[in-house]
C-alpha cells in the first residue's frame, strides 16, 4: 500500500504545459481584442456603411454605369493576368522544382521580388518604360499604340504584382513530389505533354488552384500599382479599387462602400476557399487514395 516517498518535486501536470489560469485568460482576451479591433471592426464598417442608406441605395449605387464599367474592367484585368501568370507560374515552378541549374536561387529571388517592392514602385517602372518621357514612349506615340492610361498598362502592372503567387504555391509542392512519377511515365513511353497533363497536373491541381485563388484576389484588389498607370479616366480605366477611391474622395460614401463591399466579399470568399484548400493540401501529404 504505502509507496516509497518520492524525494524530487514533480510539478502537477497542468503546470508544466501551460500558464496559470489568470495569465491564460489575459493572453486570450488580448489576442481576441486585438483581432476584433484591428481586423473584424474594419470589415464590419465596410458593410455597415454600404447599407447605411438602405438596401435600395446599395443596389442603386452598384447599378451606376460607372460602377458596372469598373466591375467589367476588373474582371477583364483579372482574367488576363491570372491566365498569363498561371501558364508562366507553372513553367517557372516546373523548371525550379524538377531541374538543377546555376542561378536557381537568383531566379527564386526574382520571382519573389514583386512581393517586397512597393506597389507604387511597381506602377512607376511601367511609367518610366512606356510614359511620354519613358524609354519606349516616343516610339509608341509615333505608332499610335497606347499602353499607359489604357488596358495594357493596367494589365502589365497587375501581372507584375501578382507574378509570385502561382509559382510560390507550386514550388514546394513539386519539390516534395520529386521526379520519379514523371520518369516512370516517360520510360513507359509517354510523351512530354502527356506526362505533364496525365501525371504532373493531377498531382499539383490543389496547389495550382490555391495559387490561382490568391493571384485572382490580388489582381482584383490591386490599388497602388494600378493607380499609377491607369490615368483615372472615368468609365474607361477605373478598376473597382480605383472607383472606391474616387467615390470616397467625392464624399459619395454609400456608393464607395458599396463597391468596397463587393471587394470585401471577394476577400471573404477567397479566405474560406483558401482554408478549405489548405486542408486538402494537408491531406495530400498522406498517401493519396485513388
Amino acid at each position: 500500500m504505502s509507496e516509497p516517498q518520492v524525494l524530487t518535486y514533480t510539478p502537477p501536470r497542468d503546470d508544466v504545459h501551460t500558464e496559470p489560469g489568470v495569465i491564460r485568460f489575459v493572453i486570450i482576451a488580448l489576442a481576441m481584442l486585438f483581432l476584433l479591433v484591428f481586423v473584424v471592426l474594419p470589415l464590419v464598417v465596410v458593410f455597415a456603411s454600404a447599407f447605411s442608406r438602405g438596401v435600395m441605395a446599395y443596389f442603386a449605387a452598384l447599378a451606376e454605369p460607372e460602377a458596372l464599367s469598373a466591375i467589367r474592367l476588373t474582371l477583364l484585368i483579372a482574367a488576363i493576368s491570372v491566365s498569363l501568370n498561371l501558364v508562366f507560374g507553372v513553367i517557372a515552378a516546373w523548371a525550379i522544382a524538377k531541374f538543377d541549374f546555376t542561378g536557381k536561387t537568383l531566379l527564386i529571388t526574382l520571382i519573389d521580388l514583386p512581393f517586397s517592392v512597393s506597389p507604387v514602385i511597381s506602377g512607376l517602372v511601367f511609367v518610366l518604360l512606356f510614359g511620354a518621357q519613358g524609354f519606349f514612349g516616343p516610339w509608341l506615340q509615333a505608332h499610335d499604340i497606347r499602353i499607359l492610361f489604357a488596358v495594357p498598362g493596367i494589365a502589365l502592372a497587375t501581372i507584375f504584382v501578382t507574378f509570385p503567387f502561382v509559382a510560390r504555391a507550386l514550388i514546394p509542392l513539386m519539390q516534395e513530389q520529386g521526379t520519379q512519377e514523371e520518369e516512370a511515365a516517360i520510360s513507359l513511353g509517354a510523351s512530354g505533354l502527356q506526362t505533364f497533363f496525365r501525371v504532373t497536373l493531377p498531382n499539383i491541381k490543389w496547389g495550382l488552384l490555391y495559387g490561382v485563388l490568391l493571384c485572382n484576389a490580388r489582381a482584383m484588389g490591386e490599388f497602388g500599382a494600378v493607380s499609377v498607370v491607369s490615368g483615372h479616366i472615368r468609365g474607361e480605366t477605373n478598376t473597382m479599387p480605383l472607383l472606391v477611391e474616387i467615390l470616397y474622395n467625392e464624399y459619395q460614401f454609400v456608393a464607395s462602400f458599396a463597391i468596397a463591399s463587393l471587394l470585401a466579399m471577394l476577400a471573404l470568399i477567397t479566405l474560406v476557399a483558401k482554408t478549405i484548400l489548405e486542408r486538402r493540401l494537408d491531406e495530400g501529404q498522406v498517401p493519396r487514395d485513388d
Binding site: I28, M32, L113, I121, F223, P241, V244, A267, L271
Partner: protein, 261 residues
C-alpha cells in the same frame, strides 16, 4: 526554361533595370539633392519610422496572438485563426476607407477616442494604425508553424529540471522562436514601408507631417517630375533589397539552429 526567363525578364527584370537606368540620367549631386531635400527626407522618415514602430507592435501582439492560437483552446479559436489573414486578402483601398471611417472623429472608435483627446484619422497616428493593420498576418504566420513544431518534451525537460513556467517560456521556448519572430518583424516592416492604399486615406497627407514616401512618388509623377519620383523609388528599392537579404539570412540561421527532424 528559356520561356520562363524571357517572360521573367520582360515582366520584372527590364522594368526594374529601367528604374535604375533612369537614375543614371541624374548626376550624383542631383540625386543627393532630391533625396536629402526636406520634404523627401521627412517622407522617408515618416515611412520608415512609423513602419518600424508598427512592426514592433505587431511583433508583440503577433506573439500574443500566436500563443493563444497554438497553446490554448477557446471558443472561436479556428475563426480567429482564419481572420488573421484578412489584412492579406482585403484590397488595400477597402482597408483604407474602412479604417478611416472607423477612426474618423464621428467613427465608432474615433468618437470615444476624440473624447479622450486622441485624434487618429488624418494624423501620423492614423498612418501608424493602418501599418499595424496590414502587418498583422506576417508575424503570426511565420511564428505559428515553428511554435506548432516545437517539441513539448523540451518544455517537460526544463520543468522536470526545476525551471519555473516563467523560466521555461522565456529561456527555453522564446529563444527558439527568435529567428521566426525576426523574420515576421522584417516582413511586416517591409510591407508597411511600401504600403500605399490602406495608408493614404487615413493619413491626412500633409507634407512633412503625414506624407508617406510612396505618396510622394505618386505626387512627383503627377507633377511630371519623373527624376524626383525615380530617386525616391531607388532609395526605397535598395531598402527592400537589404530587408530581403536580411530575411534570407535569418532563414538560413533558423535552419542551422534547429536541425530538421
Amino acid at each position: 526554361m528559356g520561356l520562363t526567363l524571357t517572360w521573367l525578364s520582360v515582366i520584372i527584370l527590364i522594368p526594374l533595370a529601367g528604374l535604375f537606368l533612369k537614375t543614371l540620367d541624374l548626376s550624383f549631386e542631383q540625386f543627393w539633392g532630391i533625396v536629402t531635400s526636406r520634404r523627401t527626407l521627412n517622407a522617408l522618415k515618416i515611412s520608415f519610422g512609423l513602419s518600424f514602430a508598427a512592426a514592433c507592435v505587431n511583433l508583440v501582439m503577433g506573439m500574443i496572438v500566436v500563443w493563444a492560437l497554438v497553446r490554448y483552446r477557446f471558443p472561436g479559436r479556428r475563426l480567429f485563426d482564419a481572420i488573421v489573414d484578412i489584412p492579406f486578402a482585403l484590397p488595400t483601398a477597402v482597408a483604407g476607407i474602412a479604417l478611416t471611417q472607423l477612426f474618423a472623429q464621428k467613427g465608432w472608435l474615433g468618437a470615444p477616442l476624440a473624447e479622450l483627446g486622441i485624434k487618429v484619422a488624418f494624423t501620423p497616428t492614423g498612418i501608424f494604425i493602418a501599418m499595424i493593420f496590414i502587418g498583422i498576418p506576417f508575424v503570426v504566420r511565420t511564428v505559428q508553424p515553428v511554435l506548432l513544431d516545437l517539441d513539448v518534451e523540451i518544455e517537460e525537460a526544463a520543468a522536470s529540471l526545476g525551471a519555473s513556467r516563467w523560466h521555461t517560456v522565456f529561456r527555453v521556448i522564446l529563444p527558439s522562436l527568435i529567428p521566426a519572430l525576426l523574420t515576421g518583424f522584417a516582413l511586416a516592416f517591409a510591407r508597411a514601408v511600401g504600403e500605399y492604399g490602406s495608408v493614404i486615406f487615413i493619413a491626412g497627407n500633409l507634407p512633412n507631417v503625414s506624407e508617406i514616401a510612396p505618396l510622394l512618388i505618386v505626387i512627383r509623377l503627377s507633377e511630371f517630375r519623373y527624376a524626383d519620383a525615380t530617386a525616391i523609388a531607388v532609395v526605397m528599392l535598395i531598402a527592400s533589397f537589404i530587408i530581403i537579404f536580411a530575411v534570407n539570412r535569418l532563414q538560413r540561421w533558423a535552419q542551422t539552429r534547429i536541425p530538421a527532424h
